[in-house]
């Protein structure tokens, strides 16, 4: 199908952004929500058609999914071969991504109709949502590593705008600032990586780049041979690019912004910080996967270890948090860690490429159930007006729909068959098992933790103690939630249940050949068992009101404290930024400017003044001294003359 129609998928949200951004606030605040939603419906439908079209009609040429570039035009040209091109890049993962993005975004749009009702800046909110959707779609459809960088920045800023949506809350402002700056720091790495890769491979275009760097070309040889500080240029490039990805995907140690980002409205968290933007890093690595796996396994190793560590790290912290959104945030981080190390342990083509497929598959399912979790949490918060677990409990009677859907999501993420999470996780673990046992064990343990903290969350929201509304007035008037909020929950829960049955390997694989994913019972059992264990543990501890949890936390008090304080990462960052950078660089440079540079100028001025004050006595009004000077002048000339000639 024609490029111009595909181009509409990102452009329609852009149009609605412009419309709402320019006129929404004044003229269309009433209908702005519907404008946004309709535009999203349109592009969601369109992307579904496109994906269908790609997967089943046009995409496959003799059994291999092709990489198709459409509507390519030059945006900036730096040299004959290095130029920033804009275009639409169609391949299995981008197709999968546009479906996810548009669909989740649509869900969030609908949900927000209810959730954000009565907000003063309703129109602005929808404008930002559309902006984000546009940038995210542009990101996934990029055909050029620089194009992806541009949209990368754009999603960053729209996330910034949405986090700081409640901008009169200082905490929200701080959080948005943190999110932007941390990811910007990562993007610095990304940018330098791009520079290295671009001028190593003499191109910015993904296709050419991958071709050049996976086959034996002079560029590849050059990049491998030229080394800096012991690493080859290629390794540097890929690692720096991965750093960018890690920043967006909240991998350790760049994860600190994600929990704070929960200051944003909950639907936003569902869209940006759970389903779509945070997986951009995974997507980026997947984009460059052939280069990683074929030309630079070392970098891929790094990806794997960073991924597994982050997932364990986050899971541990998640067990201790009491703010439900933060729990979800850490679980997101942990799940993305899963995807990362899945990529890290994957090989290329055939069975070896299982990890890649698994990672993408998990991305897909995770998007569904994590969005569902967030939206569910959203409606709980909407009902309770609090994020804290202690204000909740026993809500199952009051909000049945939310309860059921939330349960489904929890089962999915805990990897209980036949829910979707089970399938993707199983594949990941299989891939890990085949390549790296250590990672496999850790992953398994993490799976257990995941199940535990999710059900800790579930029980303490919906069971545990009886619910006492802390103030009647607020929640007396509304029931569970308006249908606009229930509908997305239901739809998503269906998908969270069913997504697992998609024969994913058929569509998405590292090399484009369909991958028959066979089912190993032996490898399927352990995660399930561990997951169930986790669930049971949570059941025992949090099903009813008891002090078991305190006991346990007392048991590992140090660990508990450390985890509760997120292992003091924030404090460390604070120390580095405040004490080191601020006090050791910013303050001195300002001081230098004020005193040395400026001082030099003022000094030279005052020096001149001083001198003129100093020599004023020369003009002493005494006639004879003038004459003496006159005579001295004559003598001086004579002396000068003498010196010159003799």
């Amino acid at each position: 199908m024609s490029a111009s129609i595909i181009a509409l998928i990102p452009l329609v949200p852009l149009a609605s952004f412009l419309l709402l951004g320019l006129f929404g606030r004044k003229y269309l605040s009433a209908i702005s929500g519907w404008i946004g939603t309709l535009s999203l419906m349109f592009s969601a439908g369109l992307s579904l058609v496109t994906a269908y079209n790609y997967f089943f009609v046009s995409g496959k040429v003799n059994g291999v999914y092709q990489q198709i570039t459409l509507a390519k035009f030059t945006w900036l040209a730096f040299s004959p071969e290095v130029s920033i091109d804009m275009g639409l890049f169609l391949d299995p993962i981008s197709m999968m991504m546009i479906v996810i993005v548009t669909f989740i975004s649509l869900m969030v749009h609908i949900y927000s109709l209810g959730y954000m009702k009565g907000e003063e800046r309703f129109a602005t909110y929808y404008a930002f949502l559309s902006l984000f959707t546009f940038s995210m779609l542009g990101l996934v459809l990029s055909c050029n590593i620089f194009q992806i960088y541009m949209f990368w920045e754009l999603v960053g800023v729209s996330s910034y705008l949405l986090i700081s949506f409640y901008f009169d809350r200082p905490s929200a402002v701080a959080a948005s600032k943190k999110a932007f700056i941390v990811t910007r720091f990562a993007d610095l790495g990304f940018l330098i990586g791009i520079l290295i890769l671009a001028f190593g491979a003499h191109t910015l275009d993904f296709k050419t780049l991958i071709e050049k760097l996976t086959t034996a070309t002079p560029e590849l040889h050059g990049m491998i041979s030229s080394s800096f500080l012991g690493l080859s240029a290629l390794t540097w490039g890929l690692l720096l690019v991965f750093a960018g990805g890690a920043g967006k995907s909240a991998m350790f140690p760049l994860h600190i912004w994600l929990p704070d980002a929960m200051e944003g409205p909950t639907p936003v968290s569902a869209l940006i910080h759970a389903a779509t933007m945070v997986v951009a890093g995974v997507y980026l690595v997947a984009r460059l996967f052939p280069v990683f796996v074929m030309s630079c396994p070392g970098a891929l190793q790094v990806v794997a270890y960073v991924g597994i560590f982050s997932s364990l790290f986050a899971a541990v912290i998640a067990c201790t948090q009491t703010d439900i959104k933060r729990v979800l945030a850490y679980s997101t981080m942990s799940q993305i860690g899963y995807m990362m190390f899945a990529l890290g342990v994957s090989g290329y083509s055939g069975e070896g490429g299982l990890g890649f497929t698994a990672s993408m598959f998990h991305l897909f399912t995770h998007a569904m159930f994590k969005a569902l979790l967030f939206l569910g949490a959203g409606s709980v918060i909407h009902y309770v007006h609090s994020n804290e677990m202690k204000d909740m409990g026993g809500l199952r009677k009051y909000m049945p729909v939310t309860h059921i859907t939330f349960l489904i999501a929890c089962l999915a993420i805990a990897g209980v068959p036949p829910f979707s999470g089970f399938f993707s996780k199983e594949e990941i673990l299989t891939a890990a098992y085949h390549s790296n046992k250590a990672i496999y064990m850790i992953a398994l343990f993490t799976a257990g933790l995941t199940a535990f903290y999710m059900f800790r969350l579930y029980f303490s929201i919906f069971w545990n103690k009886e619910y006492h509304a802390h103030d009647e007035s607020t929640d007396a008037h509304h029931g569970e939630a308006p249908w606009t909020m229930k509908l997305p929950l239901l739809l998503l829960s269906i998908l969270a249940f069913a997504a697992g049955f998609v024969p994913f390997g058929q569509f998405v694989s590292s090399d484009g050949h369909p991958l028959a994913s066979e089912f190993h019972l032996a490898l399927a059992i352990p995660p399930v068992v561990i997951g169930l264990l986790g669930i049971i543990l949570a059941l025992v501890m949090y099903r009813g009101q008891n002090n078991l949890s305190e006991k346990v936390s007392g048991l590992f008090s140090y660990l508990y404290q450390a985890a509760y304080r997120k292992f003091y990462i924030d404090e460390i960052y604070l120390f580095i930024t405040r004490k080191v950078i601020f006090n050791l660089i910013a303050v001195p440079s300002a001081w230098v400017d004020k005193n040395l540079v400026d001082g030099a100028v003022n000094l030279s001025a005052s020096m001149t003044g001083e001198t003129s004050e100093l020599i004023k006595g020369w003009q002493s009004g005494k006639m004879q001294q003038y004459a003496i000077w006159f005579f001295a002048g004559v003598i001086g000339l004579v002396i000068m003359f003498v010196c010159m000639w003799y």
Partner: protein, 495 residues
């Protein structure tokens, strides 16, 4: 297309303004005059592109020359290439915006607009002149109006800042003049004509001696570290439109001069001092950015960030690759528009809240959505967000800088890239403190949003910024031939 109109129109406007009776007439005259300028430059752009499409490959178009001082072989010689056209367009935009923003000037209205238009005449003349003497003439015309604008209508330590600015710029132009004389006497045939000079070969030793004079001289205008110190004081004491003009155009005179005069006429000199230039530029970029983090006065913030951003211009020039030079020019245009917008926003805010200290403000976005949005756009553009001009320009500079394969220059480039983070830090700090958060000062509660003139001005600038940001290729095409001509000289000289 008669280029001299670009000089005459502002001059005539200025004279008309002198003849005006009432402030209203003055404003009207100024507005029409600046609109006329914009129209003229638009026409120039059209004519230029037509000529190029018609296959006219002369280096300079619309040339006109006439003897001025025959015995010294000084000619009034004007002509434009893409670079000049870009700068001229920038000037027109900023002048119009400046006139609109300073619409409400009450004290000595007539003089104010007179000086403003005199400045613009100087800038146009500088950008079109191809004769070094004429160029210098226009360079110096601009000094005194700046002094008076700051001194009379300024705020804060205005006299100190004005004097400092005037003297440092005078020092810069003194150095420039020495350099020009050197070029004049050593190029074989005593001429000031840049085109002839670019062909005639100046002895290498001479270039090594005189290049620093020209480069430093113009560098003072372009806020080259450590000669940037007039920038913060001058910008922050100046009235809004003067700040816009200073940061938007005057600093560009420096960059343009470094490129068009120093580098173009003395390529060997440029090669000789390349490393120093790059070092200074990198220092300016980072150091300016870090110094900005410490500022609490909005104008100082923007002034220091200007130092940092103009560092990119010098970095691009210093790298001596075509892409980098294109990037430098793009950065000049982009920074001109962006910083003008920022100053305009600050000025509007200052008129209403009567303070520029960021800790005294808060939640302005809630009170005046329009100004708030303008602030956000300016800020995001300055931290290099895609879709705004800053991003395209900076990326071009980086790309071009990276093309220079020398490892130390690449490290300098990385250092320069690092500034995007620092920029984000201080911009978001300012935005967060001023625009967001709760409303601190209840007196601010009743401030009004932008008036028609301010809206017009800011929208004008924003449109330009966004256009360049979305389709930088046009600007790049405009600049490329000029950059090629310069690169020919440079590569003839060096590698």
């Amino acid at each position: 297309m008669v280029l001299s109109f670009l000089v005459f129109v502002p001059l005539v406007t200025a004279i008309v303004i002198l003849l005006c009776r009432s402030a209203g007439q003055v404003r009207l005259a100024a507005l029409t005059g600046s609109l006329l300028q914009l129209g003229l430059t638009a026409f120039l752009l059209l004519a230029y592109t037509n000529e190029r499409q018609a296959g006219n490959t002369d280096q300079m178009l619309f040339q006109y020359r006439t003897i001025w001082f025959a015995p010294l072989n000084i000619q009034y010689h004007v002509g434009v290439d893409g670079i000049s056209v870009a700068m001229i367009l920038l000037t027109a935009f900023i002048v119009l915006a400046g006139v609109l923003v300073s619409w409400k000037i009450e004290n000595l209205t007539k003089e104010f607009f007179f000086l403003l238009l005199l400045l613009s005449a100087g800038a146009y003349g500088f950008f079109i002149s191809l004769d070094l003497f004429v160029l210098f003439f226009f360079l110096e015309i601009a000094v005194i109006p700046k002094y008076l604008l700051i001194g009379i209508w300024g705020s804060g330590r205005k006299e100190y800042s004005a004097t400092k600015l005037a003297l440092m710029l005078m020092g810069g132009s003194a150095l420039v003049f020495v350099g020009i004389l050197g070029v004049y006497y050593y190029n074989g045939s005593q001429t000031f004509d840049m085109l002839e000079l670019s062909k005639s070969h100046i002895p290498v030793a001479i270039q090594h001696f005189f290049f620093p004079f020209l480069f430093l001289g113009f560098g003072v205008f372009g806020a080259l570290f450590p000669f940037h110190t007039w920038v913060p004081d001058g910008h922050s004491s100046a009235p809004t439109s003067a700040s816009m003009f200073l940061a938007g155009i005057s600093m560009k005179l420096g960059g343009y001069g470094c490129l068009r005069v120093a580098t173009y006429l003395m390529p060997e000199g440029a090669h000789e001092y390349q490393s120093i230039i790059i070092l200074l530029a990198a220092i300016a970029i980072l150091y300016g950015a870090f110094a900005t983090m410490m500022q609490t006065d909005l104008k100082y913030i923007n002034a220091y960030s200007s130092v940092s951003h103009c560092g990119f211009v010098l970095l691009g020039i210093g790298m001596l690759t075509q892409t980098a030079i294109i990037g430098a020019v793009m950065q000049m245009v982009s920074h001109g528009l962006m910083t003008a917008l920022f100053f305009a926003a600050i000025g509007m805010l200052y008129e209403r809240t009567h303070t520029r200290a960021i800790e005294k403000m808060g939640g302005i976005l809630k009170l005046t959505p329009f100004i708030g949005t303008v602030f956000f756009i300016a800020g995001l553009c300055s931290l290099g967000l895609p879709g705004f001009s800053g991003f395209a320009a900076e990326m071009t500079v980086f790309m071009g800088a990276w093309q220079n394969t020398e490892i130390w220059y690449r490290i300098a480039t990385i250092a320069a890239c690092a500034s995007i983070v620092v920029t984000a830090v201080y911009i978001l700090r300012a935005l967060g403190k001023v625009m967001m958060g709760p409303v601190l000062d209840e007196q601010h509660a009743d401030i009004t949003d932008a008036g028609w003139n301010e809206k017009f001005a800011t929208v004008l600038l924003i449109v330009a910024i966004v256009f360049i940001g979305i389709a930088p290729i046009f600007l790049q095409h405009l600049i490329t031939p000029g950059a090629e001509a310069i690169m020919q000289n440079v590569s003839r000289a060096g590698f």
